[in-house]
Subunit: 221 residues, 2 copies
């Protein structure tokens, strides 16, 4: 079982989010830590996805995880229990996002030196988190089949800032009216550079492709 620490972060003190984010990114690059910001709607399966992904990479990478929630620590505990990695729960006091300064304050309490991969599980929300650069190298957006293929049309900024979009819970495609090709088209119209992968944390489908994407991005920092 991994460790979970909890930090309460209520409000930002720095106004210059982009400068703060760039400083975090530079520090992470310097120490060789690929930093990923994982975003999605509530209930799209971020935590389950991470509990499956981390064990697939643990043998080759030292991994840390930070989890943002309003006040529960459920997700950090789930990740730590399932994967054995050290996990930090950030309580953001009811805000709908985390910004670079809040990330920096969490990082001040969490030793990332020596990590190959640091994953931030952002708060479940398709609006606010997209507006704040957290200092991560890449933004990963989970977009689950039950949510419907119209979500890129309705939450365009989230899909515009995504580097990797994971169409998730694809094991449930037979149950829902979800047109994968339409979903892909809608994402690529907003963001022609987005990578799109189809995954199911439940069946494991597509998870190897995510690991390959992470290895490639790690080699590039």
């Amino acid at each position: 079982m991994g460790e979970v620490r909890v930090i309460e972060i209520k409000e930002s003190v720095f106004a210059d989010n982009d400068r703060e984010a760039a400083a975090i990114r530079e520090r992470m690059s310097r120490q060789g830590t690929l930093f990923l910001n994982v975003m999605s709607s509530p209930g799209s399966g971020k935590t389950t996805f991470l509990t499956k992904l981390i064990p697939m990479l643990k043998g080759e990478m030292k991994i840390g995880e930070m989890d943002v929630d309003i006040k529960s620590s459920l997700d950090a505990v789930r990740v730590a229990d399932a994967t054995g990695v050290e996990s930090m729960q950030i309580h953001n006091g009811g805000l709908c996002h985390i910004d670079a300064d809040m990330t920096a304050r969490a990082l001040a309490e969490y030793s990332t030196e020596g990590l190959d991969l640091l994953i931030l599980e952002n708060i479940g929300n398709l609006v606010c988190p997209a507006e704040f650069d957290t200092g991560a190298h890449k933004n990963v957006v989970l977009f689950s089949v039950p949510e419907g293929d119209d979500k890129p049309l309705k939450y365009p900024l989230m899909f515009t800032v995504a580097d990797l979009v994971l169409i998730s819970k694809i094991d449930t495609l037979p149950v829902f009216d979800f047109d994968v090709e339409k979903a892909k088209e809608r994402i690529l119209r907003l963001n022609p550079d987005a990578q799109i992968l189809l995954v199911s944390a439940k069946t494991g489908e597509g998870m190897d492709d995510v690991c390959d994407w992470i290895r490639t991005e790690k080699s590039r920092i």
Copy 2:
């Protein structure tokens, strides 16, 4: 096919949200319009639910609908097309919520005189909309099975402000690990007065109970 109008509302000018909300509620009560604020995560099925609910009540009530989105008009068009009611699309300029002043400004452009029921489909988000009284008589929260039964623990304010929680997409219960009893317990621990109903807009299960709840609330204003 119903009509859809679009209004762009960018920021609030009144600070006193609660006073503004009370004024809206009083006006709606005076004119005999039950005003419902429907909230949920993105993709939990609010629009589909409304396209099924409204036709069940249209014969006995005059109904209006207002839909909030960042910039698309998809939902208002879907509701108007499927139900024939007049629907207004409110574009909130990228905010994660709608407050009482924004609602009042939308109402200034939308004639609600003579309506028995006015439904506001809020923006898909489990955090921000819970913080703002819109002036509705009752808050209805959709909570869909694919999102997982832990959502009340993670987004407590939303379930605390709910008058009616609809556990939705119950036709998908066989596909997901969702414990209905646990979900109910978690909601009631936060909010012992919450009504909870199980529904599937797809199969129609539970929809009659929602109509009955609306009839009762209408008789109380």
